[in-house]
């Protein structure tokens, strides 16, 4: 397992998929572990179905809130094409957790571009530490399609050495009370998925 005293995590996806909440939960986790932490969010127009990326960095001292090419320890990709778009940001030995969901961007819908095929195989060719799952299916089974974000956090929890107790606390503090149960269930389902 990867050392956990300094991590750069990117959360990439499509506006509306819940990347913001996921990054906030990760920020709370780092804060609870008493690290210096910065969470860089995306608000405004790009949220409307566009490509979105948020950054969570923690360690003894964090200056820039941004993660640049080749710097990410972990990328949580909420959508396959977005996984492909941001792979250059992953460290050579970095870990990527990919939701297999496909959401066509507008150029694909209009026929100006094609949705790339074989994305997972392409990524696997260069990176060794790649986990894929159908998080949308798992979220649906838990009773809420919007819980994809928490399913993916569950996977990350299973693959990192951060105590499960801290994850649990952070989710309880961050997720709205009325959807807490379904999200706890989604987290556990993600935790056991791979």
């Amino acid at each position: 397992m990867r050392k956990m005293d300094k991590l750069s995590i990117m959360i990439v996806g499509v506006g509306g998929q819940g990347t913001l909440l996921a990054s906030r939960i990760l920020g709370v986790i780092a804060f609870k572990m008493n690290y210096d932490v910065k969470v860089s969010e995306v608000h405004g127009m790009s949220q409307r179905g566009g490509s979105v990326v948020t950054y969570v960095k923690y360690g003894p001292k964090i200056y820039s809130p941004l993660i640049e090419k080749g710097e990410a320890d972990i990328i949580l990709a909420f959508e396959k094409l977005e996984a492909l778009r941001w792979t250059e940001y992953l460290k050579k030995d970095g870990m990527m957790i990919i939701n297999e969901q496909e959401i066509d961007p507008l150029p694909v819908i209009t026929g100006a571009a094609k949705y790339p095929s074989e994305i997972i195989n392409t990524i696997n060719r260069q990176y060794k530490n790649v986990f894929t799952l159908n998080a949308l299916k798992i979220a649906r089974e838990c009773g809420n399609l919007k819980a994809v974000n928490i399913v993916l956090l569950g996977v990350m929890a299973a693959k990192t050495a951060i105590p499960k107790q801290i994850w649990d606390e952070a989710i309880r503090e961050t997720v709205p009370a009325k959807v807490l149960n379904v999200n706890i269930e989604a987290f556990n389902a993600g935790y056991q998925a791979i």
Partner: protein, 585 residues
């Protein structure tokens, strides 16, 4: 207590702790959350104003009335508020007055990337710039002190990465700030020429005093390291520079105007090489060069976009980060798109079909400029659509007006469209104005506005009646249309553009993201009925997926707005009975 806070949230906290009791703003990314967070505090009057000029005027009133007051806006909002700014610089304040202005380098959510620091110099007001959330809180508090000590408004400049990054913040108690007495004083508050001339003298005196303050304040500080390289920097650029240069010396500027000339000269004199690291304009660099100091900045760093640590390393130190080869070329871009169920979609479809020239405005509907509808021709600034349509008509004639519409949202219309509509009527134009009325400021995240019916605090209030307003202005042809009824909508647009007089069409439907909107649930395409004509793709709906040989719906995205069922000639779209995905939770 320490906790994670967005820069915007921390800035609001700073104003709260400083004892501010009046806050006014118009929403604009990346500044919106400042005012939303102010609204969470008791004991503070907070409002969404119709625009930034009004907001600043309210804050000025608050200040003259003796209260500590803040006014928040995005960078382009300061253009709107600049008229009162330049003169409140002359009158000075009573209670402290702080403007929070958020720039957007890289234009994540803006129409230009102007550098607000120029406003500080132009209006002769001091400006501070924090570099993380803690400083957002601390600097706003200090800004109030400066405002009252030097009798002037103070601008605190934020930027996207400061406003929208979370970092740890230590909060404190709210100061027990006593409302100051209001004393009538026309020599100070009535800026007629005779008084303004005297006040300008005071402004110049104040700038000299502020210059001295800048030399000694701990807002500007030196971090000594290796003296081979010295870096002068501020705000988010400081964070990038720290990561790029490591253990060198830094002059961190917290007060970006006026700059501490002597401190800069002292710092420079001890360095072998001096760099300035700043985003956008060479604001520091030009000033430092004017002092006769040799410095390197924008000959290496770009004038455009955001800086990053790697960029600084590469351009200034010649160190290039080893990166992975791209796995594939040409990953399709993913621009933002109107949501499934968006009421603008049907409107854009009609504009495209009728091949109209559409002058646009600021809002989600600007996205209609992109394929497939490409139905928006222009986007300049808040409220520009109507004046632009009117000007095009005057240039090209009344016949052109019959193929032209101005497209503007309700919040933007209230912000600065009303005066342009008056212009059309007064100056005998024929423009057709489409007001997209979802009765909310949607793009910035659902802020109520004067058409909504409640305030930022959730209190019920009067709603502007857009029909009566247009009629009162003198528009005789005012229609209300449902953008989901495409056929009727098209008919109305045709009739109103054909009319040889001004007309207003109010396209009325709530935002698809509104919690009150309930659609029937996801649709699917009956592949036996579908003739692959792909007419539905002309809607540009992200829930209708082109698979090449066939078309299907994405049931996780589709909300069931039924627009496609009207566009489809073969009744291929059918209900699935599944609850709408995008609306869950």
């Amino acid at each position: 207590m320490k906790r994670l806070m967005l820069g915007n949230e921390a800035a609001a906290r700073g104003a709260y702790e400083a004892g501010a009791t009046v806050a006014a703003a118009y929403p604009g990314t990346p500044s919106t959350e400042i005012t939303e967070n102010m609204a969470k505090y008791d004991g503070v009057y907070v409002e969404w104003s119709p625009n930034e000029k009004v907001a600043l005027e309210v804050a000025i009133g608050g200040s003259l009335g003796g209260a500590r007051s803040i006014c928040s806006m995005k960078h382009v909002g300061l253009n709107v508020a600049s008229d009162p700014l330049f003169t409140v610089s002359y009158t000075g304040v009573n209670g402290g007055l702080v403007l929070l202005v958020a720039d957007d380098p890289g234009m994540h959510s803006s129409q230009n990337e102007q550098d607000s620091r120029h406003y500080a110099r132009a209006a002769k007001v001091p400006m501070l710039e924090p570099s993380d959330s803690q400083e957002c809180l601390d600097y706003v508090k200090q800004a109030f002190e400066i405002s009252e000590s030097f009798d002037c408004p103070v601008i605190v400049r934020l930027s996207t990465r400061i406003s929208h990054s979370q970092s740890a913040v230590k909060t404190g108690e709210r100061a027990d700030y006593k409302l100051k007495d209001y004393n009538k004083d026309f020599t100070k508050y009535v800026m007629m020429p005779a008084m303004a001339r005297k006040r300008h003298v005071e402004v110049e005196k104040r700038m000299l005093a502020l210059q001295e303050y800048s030399e000694t304040t701990d807002l500007n500080s030196i971090e000594w390291g290796s003296k081979k390289i010295g870096v002068i920097t501020s705000g988010i650029a400081y964070q990038y520079a720290k990561e790029a240069f490591g253990d060198v010396s830094y002059l961190k500027i917290g007060m970006v105007y006026p700059l501490p000339d002597k401190l800069i000269a002292k710092f420079a004199s001890e360095m072998e090489t001096l760099y300035v690291v700043e985003e956008l304009e060479p604001f520091f660099e030009d000033h430092i060069k004017k002092l006769g100091i040799k410095v390197t900045g924008k000959d290496l760093l770009p004038l455009m976009g955001e800086l990053t640590a790697q960029l600084i390393k590469e351009k200034m130190l010649g160190v290039k980060q080893e990166v992975n080869e791209p796995l594939v070329d040409n990953v399709p871009v993913r621009p933002p798109v109107m949501c499934p169920g968006c009421p603008h979609r049907g409107m854009h479809y009609v504009l495209h079909k009728l091949k109209l020239t559409a002058t646009g405005d600021i809002g989600c509907y600007t996205l209609g400029a992109l394929p497939p509808t490409e139905s928006i021709d222009t986007c300049i600034c808040m409220g520009a659509s109507i004046g632009t349509a009117h000007g095009m008509e005057k240039a090209r004639g009344a016949e052109f007006a019959q193929k032209t519409v101005a497209v503007i949202g309700d919040s933007t219309f209230i912000h600065s469209g009303i005066t342009s509509l008056i212009d059309v009527v007064y100056n005998k134009g024929n423009s057709t104005v489409l007001i997209l009325d979802n009765s909310i400021t949607a793009m910035t995240g659902f802020q109520p506005n004067p058409t909504t019916g409640y305030t930022i605090k959730g209190e019920v209030t009067r709603q502007v009646d857009l029909v009566k307003l247009a009629q009162a202005i003198g528009v005789e042809r005012v229609r209300v249309a449902n953008p989901f009824d495409i056929k009727e909508f098209e008919k109305i647009v045709k009739e109103e553009t054909a009319a040889a007089e001004p007309s207003v069409i109010i396209s009325k439907s709530p935002c698809a993201l509104s919690k009150d909107v309930k659609f029937g649930g996801a649709l699917k395409i009956n592949q036996e009925k579908c003739k692959r004509c792909k007419q539905c793709l002309a809607l540009g709906c992200p829930a209708i997926v082109n698979k090449g040989d066939f078309v299907e719906t994405d049931e996780a995205l589709c909300v069931g707005c039924m627009l496609c069922t009207i566009v489809c000639s073969f009744q291929a779209f059918e209900e699935t009975g599944e609850k709408a995905g995008a609306k869950n939770g």
